[in-house]
Each structure stands twice: as C-alpha cells, then as structure tokens.
C-alpha cells in the first residue's frame, strides 16, 4: 500500500498543536487502508461502531478521549456509515469551555446535523453565547457553525449578534459575519431584508478583505434586482480600477496578480449591471480595456480574469474595440495547448457569437480540432457551441455529428440532453422532411426511452400533415419513405417503446396507403411487434389500433379480409387481457371485422388523422331518450355549475387539500376567509398585479404610453369580477368545457408546438481555402459548418421571413433566430420598463414635464454631463480610504438618480418618450430606498 509507506513518518510527526490521535485511531485508519475489499472495510467499520457504541456508554469519559471518539465518529460517517448514535455527544462537546473541544464539537455537528435536526435546539443557546464571546476565535467557530445549523426559524435568535459583529474590530470576524448574513439571505431572504443596507455599508470597509467578502452577497442581490444597484456601477468600476492599479497591499497578490478573486467577482457584478444598459456599459469600457492590456496570460489566474472579461463583454453592450480585444483573447485561448484554456475559449466563443456571429469563422479549424479531441468535456462544450451557431445552412452537418456522438456515449443524462438538442435543431431548421424523419429515426432508435413523448407526437403529426401545402404527391412520398424506413428498422432487436409506438401508428395509418405493401404483410409485421414486446402494453395498444385501421381500410375498399392466424391469436389473447384498455381495443377490433364496408368507412375513414372530430358536446342525439325518461318520472339533470354553487365550500376544501380525505365535518364558518384569498393568488399568476398606489394612477388617461399598462389593469379587473361572482370551481368547470382541444382523429393528440419549419435548403457557399496545408477533410467539414458569413446571414433573414406561413414554427421562437448585429440601444432600454413597471413616482407627470421641454433636449444632456463629471473621473488618492470617499462622492453626485445616456435626434418625439421611460426606470429604485444612501454617506 503506497500510502502506508509514509506511515512511519506520519507517526513520527505525532501531533501538531494538539491535533493528536490515539493508537486505536491510527490502527483503524491503517486497517481500513489495508482492506482488500469493500466488504472487509465494512466489517472493520462495523466493529469500530460497536466499540464506539460501547465506549460512549461508559461513565466519566475523560474529555480528551471523548474528543477522539468524536473524530472517529466523523471518520466513519465519512466512509458512509451511520454515526447518529453519537450525535448527542458532539452536541454536548460544543458546550465545553475548552476551545479545542468546542471547535471539535462544532466541526462534528456541522458535518453531522442539518438545520432541521432535532438536536439543533440544544446548540442555539451555545451559539448565542459564543457569538458574544471575548475570544474572537470562539466567535469565528460559532459563525462557522451557524452557516450550517441555523434555519429560517432560528435565524432571529442569532441575527442581532451577527449584525453586531459586522462592526467587530477584527476583520476576520467582520468578514465571516458578512458571509453568515449572506447565508441567511440565501436561506430566507425575508428574515434579513431589512439588513441589506449593511452589505452596501461594508463595501466601504477599511479592510479590502471585508470589501471582497461583501461582493459575494452583493452579487446575489444584484442578480435578483439589478435596477436597485445601478448607482453602484461607478463605485465598482473604480474599485476594480484601483485593484488593477495595485493600490491594495502587496499581500493580496496571488501569482503576481493583484487580488484576482476580487477582480473576478467585480467583473461578474459589472456584467450583471451593464446588461442591456448602454450608459452603465460605457463607464466600464476603460477599465475593461486596461484589463485586456494588463492581464498576464501566462498564468492560470491571469487567464481566469481574461475569461471573466470576455464574459463581461458578452453581457454588457460592448464597444467594437472591446469586442476585438475579446476576440483576440479567445483566439489566444483556442490556440493554446492547454485543454483548460481551449475549453474557456470555446465557452467564450459561444458567448460572443451571439453578438458578432462572424467571430467563429476565424476559428473554424480550432473548433473542429476541439470536436475531435479525446477530452469529453471539451467535446461537449464544442457541441454546445455548434448548437448555438446552427442555422439552416449547416444544420445537416451539425446534427449528423451530434447524433453520431449521441450514439457513441453511454451517459444517459447527457444522451437525453443531446437527443433533445438534435430534435430541437431538426425541428427548427430541417431542410427537408425526409431528412427530418431520418434524424428522428436515429434519435428514437438510440435514445428513444430518453426523449420527451411530445417529440413522438410531433413526428406523427408531421407525417400526417406533410408539408402543409397542397402537394399530395410530396406528402405520399414522404409517408412512403417513412413506412419503408420503419419496415427496415423494425427487424432490429430491442427498439425503444416510444419508437415502436410511432412505427405502429405510421404503419397502421399509411402502411397500405399506396398499395406497395399488402395488408397481410403489414399486419404480420404489426403482430410481430406485439408479440416481441409483449410486456409493453402501450406498444401492444398501438399495434392493435394499427391492425384495426389496416383491416378497416381493407374492408372499406371492398377487399376481402383474411385475418392472419397470428393476428387472430393475438386478438384472443388480448380479449382476456388484464389491461382494460387492451381488452377494449381487442373487442373493438373484433366488432369492426364483423361490420359492413359502409359502416367501417364512417368509423375509420382513410387518411383522416388530421381531420377534426366534431364532438357533440350537448349529446343532442340523446334528447329523445331523456325526454322519454323525464316523462316516465325521472329527475331532470342539474348542471355541474349549479351543483358546484351549492357545494362550493366543500369543493374548495377538497380542491385545496387533496390529501385530506375526510372533510365531512368541516362547515362553512371555517372556510369563509379562503375564497377571498384564493382569487388574488390566482390573479397574480395570470397578470402581474400592480401595487395599489400605482393601480389608481393607471386610470389617469394621460399619455399614449400608458395604454399597455391600462390594458393589463383592465384585464385584472375583469378577472376579479369573474372570480368573486363564481369562485374557483366555476372557473375550472368553464375552462374544462371550453378547452376541449381539437382532437385529431384516429388516436393522435395534436400538439400545437410542432416546430417543423418548411424552410428549404439554401445553397451552401463554398469555403475558400486560405490555408492549403490543412487536411482537406477538416476543411470540408469547416466549410459546411461555418459557410460564408454573408450568405449565412441573408439565409437567416430569409428563413425567418419564410417561417411565417409555415404552420407551427411560430409557436417556438428559435433561440438563435436572426439577431440583428447590434440592436439599437433605445429599443433595448425600452424593453425594460414593462419588466419592472411598479413605480413609486408618478411616471406620467414626469413624462409630461419632458414633453414640455421637447426642444430643450440639449440642455438635459448637459445635466447628465454634470452628474457624470462627479462620478467618472477617478481620483488618484491611494488605498481603500479613497474607495470610501469616492463611493460617497458618486452617491452625492447623483442624489437618487441614475440617468442613462441616450443619443437621439432632438426632434423625435417618440425617442423622447422612450427616453423618459428609461429615465423613470433609473429614478425609481434609489428613490425607493433613500436610507441606503444615508448609510453610504455616513
């Protein structure tokens, strides 16, 4: 045993600073190390558990012994055995005054217990006491423990102490207190929501380490709500600038990089804040440019920062210069020998390609190298990139590659993912339906059990509906090719159930359609399927239905039907099946065989799977029967709505608590409050409900821009009325009545989201080889993957235009749809207001004011200039103190406002309106939280 060679040295080392272990423990570790098998190891551990159980029961265990037992418990639990019998001793140990024992106790309980464990209640008191300790190490130990042991209910018990510790004199304690508060925020945001301002305050801490720690919670907070933190953009930028200028103490350097982990966090935060915000992005340009120049790409951590810059640039609205710098960095990554850097390069390429689609072209050969790399991680990342850059000109090559890879791997999780991607791409960009069916066959054959059942329905629908144009010839060709391919595939053993369902359905529907295959041939095949997969009831059901269709078509066309002997035996078998569904199908088939041609034709008309079935919802054909019954004294029918009104309260109950079976004793008095609370809940799901104050404002008909908001409030009103009148049950019954979907005939449910576009195959532009020394095979692949940029983009545009008439495509907007190279910034800004339309100030009054100053647009930009002059230039004072001063400067500079710069023609009224909306977006968040600024200022 290799690791045992060093045991002598280890034993000689003995204990360092009190971390000693006994001979028994060493023996235990040693014997486990020598164990030849898992069984032997288990045996050793079990006997150890026995020993510990016995020893822990002994009275008056010396403390040092106890400590060792606890460590041994931790060890056996790490090996996967239950040590719960000793938990209580670990809990007891946290109460000890001795620091070593206390820390051991805390270590053990944090590893053993979860926050909801019963024993936690015994620790909370100790934690409270320890948080107040004079010894900062005790405080740190307690802070460490609360991260794991405190849940939503116990947070209030320790919260005051933790908040006090934010001002502790030791920076290590402040840092951990911030982290603990962050942890609370993650667990239960509401319990610390009033303390969030502390994070801002600590951003100005004298200690850079504490400031760095604050970035973690701020990152989370900004992820949740970007707009409230826009005012900090210039602060973050100036912090980053100071870090890169090496203003921090030398001790923060790591591999000659100044505080790289802080830089990375800052870049992540900037990416969030600059997303879709032109003016915020512009503030960042300088420092990002500096980073690209300064970063040392020879160290790992330097590359980490470079990558983070690329990521940041892909999120914000970048300048062309930065894009170029990012592209350069990516090409360095891709050219590197390190797989890690290649991985980062591919990842960066995938991010940047959304902004500038041309960028991939320069790196096509590198990408193809990565695709053929033995490293699976890199390969998958590259497939992800290809998935992002798929368009109709390269879909065939990419999807072929993907399916090949899908077939080659065993990892079911990833197989599912890549299969669904293949399907998605094929549905979105398929150049022809034949190709689509081929790909689908491949996917089903190799990953059929992993794909969504919807995919199967989509495929059946496609085959049934064909091209959607009135080209019957092409449709029947498509069906024939499908039938032929299925007949071929069917002979393979062990096909996935879902695929067999599709095959059975298609064979039943179209197997005999154009006379190439005889009914007996197809039905024989179907019987084989039912026979070979006799344990799969769904497949059998599909097969029997298919048989029924085939015989029906035969009968309807006047031919004599010979039921094959194996088919006959199948029917007989199913007649006695345990599955009622199969039984029913078998009986129906049997009944059908006895009917005459005319009746059969109306039951199962030929090729009618796309026809809607008219459902007589009122069951009018039964009217006579009902009349007769009433005349002979029967009670008339009471509709469900009327009944549900009578039983409303009990209905509520049963709906809300499905798991409570007995509600007979509940009476109305209990349930009264519920109906009123339920509708509001439901309405929030449907419509974003504005706050009451805003709600009243929305009715002031002032400007055109409020139309959409008023609309939404109107919708809400209507919904309210509906629910208060009828309550929930009536709501449901009405939807169930009206939402009977247009059910397709012959058994397939029609799903609205068939994504098969009818986009035709565009001619590929040939790849002009620039480097003749490269393997022509690769070049060909590259050419087919990347194509010519100009043709591809026009291709994209035309395909998006062509999608409109195609059925179904519109329902699934393709992710990689033609993104204009750079959307006009005001559009992007304009998109935001709807997202956070709850405003505290009156937007319309502001808008009015802006309309008045229509001609004074130049003046308002001047104001912005003044605002920025305070924030933008970075003072050259040193160290962290300057961070503080700048922070307060910038917040003084724009009191409650953060204005976005937009450059537009001064006379465009529309632009001004948008501008006003943008402003109002910038204004709200800070004015909602004026106290935050007080904190920052002093």
């Amino acid at each position: 045993m290799e690791q045992l060679k060093t045991i002598g040295r280890e034993l000689a080392m003995g204990s360092q600073g009190g971390f000693g272990q006994s001979k028994e423990f060493l023996d235990l570790v040693k014997s486990i190390g020598e164990a030849r098998s898992k069984a032997e190891e288990d045996r050793i551990v079990l006997s150890e558990i026995d020993i510990l159980k016995r020893k822990l029961l002994e009275p008056d265990i010396p403390k040092r012994k106890m400590k060792e037992y606890i460590i041994r418990l931790v060890y056996i639990e790490m090996l996967g055995h239950d040590a719960s019998f000793g938990y209580i001793h670990a809990v007891k140990m946290t109460h000890d005054d001795n620091l070593l024992l206390k820390r051991t106790g805390y270590l053990a309980v944090t590893l053993f217990l979860n926050e909801d464990h019963d024993l936690i209640i015994l620790i909370v008191n100790t934690i409270q006491k320890d948080l107040r300790s004079d010894n900062y190490l005790v405080v740190c130990a307690a802070l460490n423990a609360i991260c794991r042991l405190i849940n939503e209910e116990t947070i209030p018990a320790v919260l005051p102490q933790v908040v006090d510790l934010l001002n502790h004199q030791k920076e290590a304690v402040r840092k951990k207190a911030i982290m603990a508060l962050h942890r609370f925020h993650r667990k239960s945001p509401s319990s610390v929501s009033h303390l969030i301002s502390n994070f801002r305050k600590r951003l100005c801490d004298n200690d850079p380490g504490v400031m760095g720690a604050t970035l973690c919670p701020l990152f989370d907070l900004i992820t949740e709500d970007v707009s409230s933190y826009k005012d900090l953009v210039s602060s973050f930028v100036s912090i980053l600038k100071q870090v890169t200028e090496r203003r921090l103490p030398k001790s923060y350097d790591y591999h000659q990089m100044p505080a790289p982990f802080i830089q990375i966090k800052l870049l992540k935060i900037m990416a969030l804040l600059g997303c879709g915000d032109k003016s915020a992005s512009e503030i960042m340009y300088m420092v990002l440019g500096d980073l690209f120049r300064k970063c040392d790409s020879s160290t790992n951590i330097g590359n980490a920062i470079l990558y983070e810059c690329i990521r940041c640039i892909s999120c914000i609205i970048p300048s062309p210069k930065l894009l170029e710098a990012a592209a350069d960095a990516i090409s360095k990554f891709l050219k590197s020998d390190s797989h890690n850097l290649k991985y980062m390069g591919i990842d960066g390429l995938g991010r940047l390609i959304k902004i500038s689609p041309d960028i991939a072209e320069q790196h096509q050969l590198a990408v193809i190298d990565c695709l053929e790399d033995p490293d699976d991680t890199l390969k998958r990342k590259t497939f992800e990139l290809l998935y992002k850059m798929t368009k109709s000109s390269n879909v065939e090559v990419i999807v072929d590659r993907m399916t090949d890879y899908m077939i080659s791997i065993n990892d079911n999780h990833y197989k599912t993912e890549i299969a669904s991607r293949c399907v998605e791409l094929a549905e979105q960009f398929a150049p022809s339906n034949q190709w689509f069916i081929q790909i689908m066959n491949k996917v089903f054959e190799h990953a059929g059990d992993l794909v969504n059942i919807k995919v199967a329905h989509n495929l059946m629908r496609l085959i049934a509906e064909g091209f959607g144009e009135d080209d019957d010839d092409a449709d029947s060709k498509l069906r024939l090719s499908a039938v032929e391919s299925y007949l071929q595939i069917m002979s393979e053993p062990k096909l996935p159930s879902l695929f067999l369902q599709v095959i059975s359905w298609v064979l039943g529907e179209y197997g005999t359609a154009d006379g190439k295959y005889s009914a007996s041939y197809i039905s024989g095949k179907l019987c084989d399927v039912a026979d070979a997969y006799s344990s799969d009831e769904t497949v059998k059901g599909y097969a029997v239905s298919a048989l029924m269709k085939i015989y029906a078509f035969e009968i309807a066309s006047g031919r004599k039907v010979d039921v094959l002997p194996e088919c006959q035996s199948l029917i007989e078998e199913l007649l006695a099946s345990h599955s009622t569904d199969l039984q029913q199908r078998a009986y129906e088939l049997q009944a059908l065989l006895a009917l005459d041609a005319r009746a059969v034709e109306s039951i199962l008309p030929l090729d009618a799977s796309c026809e809607d079935i008219e459902v007589d919802k009122d069951l009018s054909f039964l009217n006579g029967y009902i009349q007769q019954a009433i005349e002979s004294g029967a009670q008339p029918y009471i509709s469900e709505r009327e009944r549900s009104c009578m039983l409303e309260t009990t209905d509520y109950h049963s709906r809300d608590h499905h798991e409570v079976p007995s509600h007979a004793l509940r009476f109305e008095a209990y349930e009264r409050p519920k109906p009123s609370s339920l509708p509001t809940q439901a309405s929030t799901e449907l419509v974003p409900v504005p706050e009451p104050s805003y709600y009243s404002e929305a009715h002031q008909p002032i400007s055109t821009s409020s139309v959409s908001e008023r609309e939404s409030s109107e919708i809400k009103l209507r919904l309210d009325g509906v629910k208060q009148k009828w309550g929930r049950p009536s709501y449901q019954s009405s939807t169930s009545a009206s939402s009977t979907p247009p059910q397709a005939a012959n058994g397939t449910s029609s799903h609205p989201d068939v994504g098969v576009g009818s986009s035709s195959l565009k001619p590929r532009s040939s790849y002009e080889s620039k480097k003749p020394e490269i393997d022509p095979e690769k070049q060909r692949l590259a050419a087919s993957l990347f194509g010519g940029s100009s043709s591809s983009r026009s291709d994209r545009k035309s395909s998006s235009g062509g999608h409109k008439p195609a059925k179904g495509t519109a329902s699934k907007p393709p992710k990689e749809n033609p993104i204009p190279v750079q959307p006009p910034p005001d559009l992007l800004d304009f998109g935001e207001p709807t997202a956070t339309s709850v405003t505290a100030t009156d937007p319309f009054k502001e808008l009015e004011g802006l309309m008045d100053s229509l001609s004074q647009d130049g003046g308002s930009t001047d104001v912005m200039g003044v605002l920025y002059s305070d924030a933008a230039p970075v003072t050259t004072t040193t160290s962290v103190d300057s961070l503080l001063s700048e922070l307060s400067d910038s917040s003084k500079g724009n009191p409650g406002t953060y204005q976005s710069q937009t450059s537009k023609g001064p006379n465009s009224k529309e632009a001004l309106e948008k501008d006003a909306l943008v402003r109002q977006m910038g204004v709200n968040p800070t004015s909602q939280n004026p106290t935050l600024f007080k904190d920052l200022l002093g």
Binding site: E10, L11, R148, C216
Partner: protein, 167 residues
C-alpha cells in the same frame, strides 16, 4: 457558490468530503462514488473541468486536480469561474503543503480536524473567504496556539506521545 469540496485517493476512498448544503449520508456517498467513477475514467492530459449536471443538478461544474495519490475536487455552480476554482485548489494545496510541510495523503487522514480548520478558512458557507495562503496559515496557527494554551490536559495519549520528540 461552491457546493462541495472533496478529496479522495486514487482508489476512490474519500479523505475529506464537505458539502455546503446538507445531504444525507447515503446521498453523499452516492455523489462521492459518482464523482470518482467519472474522474477515474478521464484520460491523462485533458482539461480539469467537468460539467456534472447528472450528479449535482443543473448548472453544476466540477474542477479537479490530481496530486500524487489524491484527487482534489471542487463542485460549484455558474456563479464561479472555472479557472479561478482551479487556482483555489492550488491555494488549498499550497496551504496544506506549508501546514504539514510536504503534505501527503496520510497527513490529511490523520489531521482530520486541522484539515477542516484550513478548509473553513478558505471556503466559508460555500463562498470563497480567503485566498492568501499566508493569511490562512496565520489564522490556523493562531487557532492551534490558543487551543494548545486553553488545553491544560495533554490530549496526546501515552502510546503516541513517545514519537513526539522525533520531530
């Protein structure tokens, strides 16, 4: 956020496993085994990254580094930077190396609680707390000193104390 820190040897035996969200012991074992089976099937000279959604849920990444007989593994989500995490492993190993002077697998096994002390100074509640190995070392030493001082009774049993003079 960092979801887990693991160290395991090349035979798949866990040496340290710390999960920053509570998981049942069985689940922990399953994850450790899962991670090991993925790691052991990786060829030499490939990247140190893995996308490991199948084990840890969506958007999970894993960075590992192989030192002598040990795998150091970090599992984290999309809010961390892969290359930086690789350096965090480096920080951890550097610190351990200074702590135990030329660290080996057994140091980690036998100094379980010290190992955790070091780890707790680096990663706190799933967030990176400190990356300067000198600072980490200082903190750990301070703890050891105080622990030793507060500890009047000798915690080293007689059977081992004989070796103490060896160093």
């Amino acid at each position: 956020m960092i979801k887990a820190v693991m160290m395991m040897n090349t035979q798949g035996k866990p040496r340290v496993a710390k999960f920053y969200d509570f998981l049942l012991v069985e689940k922990q074992q399953e994850l450790i085994r899962g991670v090991f089976s993925v790691l052991s099937s990786r060829p030499e000279n490939v990247s140190n990254f893995l996308e490991i959604d199948s084990l840890f849920g969506p958007d999970s990444r894993l960075v590992y580094k192989h030192y002598a007989t040990l795998y150091f593994v970090l599992v984290f989500d999309g809010s961390e930077n892969e290359l930086a995490m690789l350096d965090l492993i480096q920080v951890l190993v550097e610190t351990l190396d200074k702590c135990f002077s030329n660290v080996c697998e057994l140091d980690i096994v036998f100094n379980y609680s010290k190992m955790h002390t070091v780890l707790d100074e680096i990663v706190f509640g799933g967030q990176v707390l400190e990356t300067r190995s000198d600072e980490i070392l200082k903190a750990v030493e301070e703890i050891s000193k105080l622990e030793a001082a507060s500890n009047s009774i000798s915690l080293v049993p007689k059977s081992v104390s004989g070796w103490r003079g060896g160093r």
